[in-house]
Each structure stands twice: as structure tokens, then as C-alpha cells.
Symmetry: C2
């Protein structure tokens, strides 16, 4: 199993719009990706413009498939105007 | 729902011992805490001595109860000699 913590920073005042697009994305992921086990958006308590996505995938194949879906690419582009910089994605190997 | 990413750094050569104690802890959490929805140990790909625990709790009550259990305190002490510094715990509010 592979874990991801993706850090997404949004511009001031763009949080609600970003959350709306992310909601579309998480609905698609949950509906279409059997190999995705968790796709949870969270908001930092320390910084209201910082979001972290907690993700778990069954294996590398599932993770690769996730990044190649049309909806991931399309909704990623749709989030673009809300973002303050590029996402920071950390890859983690699940233990047991 | 509340998310946590806890960063735990271990001393060189202490990873296997740490993972063993953590396994005892995660088994207890999963067996006893209905309000805990995720308690997943992961290991950083960028630094083999850095672990991250991805956690989700139903609500604040569940999170508070987690920290007050005897096994959390006891197994936390048991991990102590493996650790390189104190845990860094980040609190996150789940979005939808």
C-alpha cells in the first residue's frame, strides 16, 4: 500500500472555490478507482490557505492509474486559478 | 472529522524495533476505538528514519479519548528509546 500527503496552497479568498472543485474530484476518484483506498481533503488548522490531501492506494498500479485519469487532469486544470504555487506531493510506503 | 499527520523520527538502526511497537499500538487502536477511522503507519521514501502516521477521527471526543488510553501512554513510552526527538503532530480539519 502506498500513502500520499499532498500539500495544496490556495490564494487568499479562493478556499471555497477550490473546495468545490476538489469535491468533484474526490467524488470521481471514489466512484471510479477501486485501487484508491483513501482520498480525504483536510484543511490545516495552522494556516487556513493550506490544504492537505491524505491518500492511500492499494499499489503502484493504482497510483499510476489515478494520475492518468481524464478527470484528474481536467479538474487539476480547473483548480489552477485558485492555487498559490504547485502542489508538494510526498510519497510514503505503508508499514504493515 | 479530524485528521492528523504525525511525524516520528527514529534513530539509525531502530526502525524495526519501532515498527514492532507501533504494530502493537495500531492493533489496540483498531480493536478498541470506534471513533478512530484510520491509523496508518507509513515510512517516508525521502528519509528512511522518518515515519508518518496518517490518522482520522470521527470527532474531537474520539481524538481526546485516543490520547488518554493506557495503551497509548504505555506503548508511547516503549517507543521512546527508538526515537530521535519528539513527535511533530499536525491537526487538520477534514473537508466534507
Amino acid at each position: 500500500m502506498i500513502g500520499i500527503v499532498a500539500v495544496l496552497k490556495v490564494q487568499d479568498g479562493k478556499g471555497a472555490e477550490f473546495e468545490g472543485v476538489f469535491r468533484e474530484l474526490s467524488a470521481k476518484v471514489r466512484a471510479n478507482e477501486k485501487g484508491n483506498l483513501l482520498y480525504q481533503l483536510t484543511k490545516s488548522r495552522a494556516d487556513a490557505n493550506t490544504y492537505k490531501v491524505l491518500e492511500l492506494y492499494k499499489d503502484q498500479e493504482a497510483l499510476t492509474a489515478h494520475g492518468q485519469t481524464d478527470y484528474f487532469r481536467e479538474l487539476g486544470r480547473k483548480m489552477g486559478p485558485c492555487m498559490a504555487g504547485r502542489p508538494e506531493v510526498e510519497y510514503l510506503d505503508a508499514v504493515d
